[in-house]
Assembly symmetry: C2
Homo-oligomer: 195 residues x 2
DNA sequence: TAGGTAAGTGACCGGTCGGTATCATCAAGA
DNA sequence: TCTTGATGATACCGACCGGTCACTTACCTA
């Protein structure tokens, strides 16, 4: 029962994986250290050997969330030939994600809402990450030859945030439809004939 | 010192006002009962005489937030002659609100993010209220003669939610610009020549 | 076979949480 | 004047929070 299969993930990894899941599903403040350890099948001492505090664990989880977004962008766009195709593929993938039953929106945005104080380090860190994600969209828009790359990138970014914010009351199908139409209007206005 | 000016607001009102402010600025879970009472200059017993639990206080505050939104819509639109003008006035007022230094986005959305579990009563209640707000926009769009009232109303609703979600990383000016252009595009596509 | 290291165990800490009990105070109306 | 209802003050409760302690177990490797 307490013997450990030799190829089991290390305690720190199990803890971070459990925290990522629980923080996302229940909220950060609503999730206690002991619950994380119980789900991870680890002990508090293992947690505190790898993370000096709960805040540090939160930071690690959010960093991982941010990295997951980067990888998601890579996977979605790597098969696309042009920057314009990449933008369209991202919109399609985002709309598709809205229908995932486990999906509750951008984890960074959720976290930021839990710390609405602008001076809170987590709030500021999330804002910086979201700005970075926005920059990526703006850069893609620039490469695609958009007349106003900033407007297209910012618009898509705002649209995505709005899509998952509206998910609870619009539902996945409707939110997907509206987001898709909005994105198509943005792309149509900004890109020269489908570039 | 402890004598009470006769025309002072009642304890329940002071408590609810303090809770509304603190819940919005710090978050609901981050705000303790005792802090609410301290700011309200009231005692815990006064709180529990008027509200059976913290959850009940939260519900009362969110109901007030919802009512404030309704009144805001009324104030913004009452001077407008046509439904189309009302929609445009709402967009303008929303953009203007983004520049308010105290503004942190829709309080209901903040609260919903604190309870990401879809089964949580607060989460569901917020979703119902947001759906009601959306219905109001759809009805205005229908009165304005929009080709697809649902698309215009849902689109504006999603755009507003996206605007304040993006506020922390876009900043008020940029978020306002992008939201305004998006709203104008929506209105332009949906409304027959400025109706 | 010895030693180092990662992990587990369970008790424990001070503090804070939401919530309750008891009693005193005070203004206003009958 | 006497009552009454709203409020204040304060001590208290059990539960849980994040975090720490001394100590044990299991595995890998030299």
């Amino acid at each position: 029962m307490s013997t450990v299969p030799a190829d089991r993930p290390k305690a720190a990894e199990r803890i971070q994986a459990a925290a990522k899941d629980l923080f996302y599903r229940q909220g950060i403040r609503a999730t206690g250290i002991e619950e994380v350890c119980r789900v991870a099948d680890a002990t508090k001492m293992s947690l505190y050997r790898s993370y000096p505090s709960k805040d540090a664990l939160v930071a690690a989880v959010l960093s991982q969330d941010s990295a997951c977004y980067d990888q998601w962008v890579l996977e979605v766009t790597q098969a696309c030939a042009t920057p314009g195709d990449k933008l369209r593929a991202l919109v399609t993938a985002m709309v598709h994600k809205l229908s995932d039953a486990e999906y509750r929106g951008c984890p960074l945005l959720l976290a930021q809402a839990e710390f609405p104080d602008r001076d809170h380090p987590t709030h500021q860190w999330v804002a910086a990450q979201k700005a970075r994600m926005r920059d990526g969209l703006v850069e893609l828009a620039r490469q695609a030859g958009a007349a106003e790359p900033g407007l297209l990138g910012d618009g898509l970014s705002m649209l995505m945030d709005g899509a998952w914010a509206s998910l609870p009351y619009l539902g996945p199908e409707r939110a997907g439809q509206v987001a898709r139409q909005g994105a198509e209007a943005l792309l149509r206005d900004a890109l020269p004939q489908g570039g």
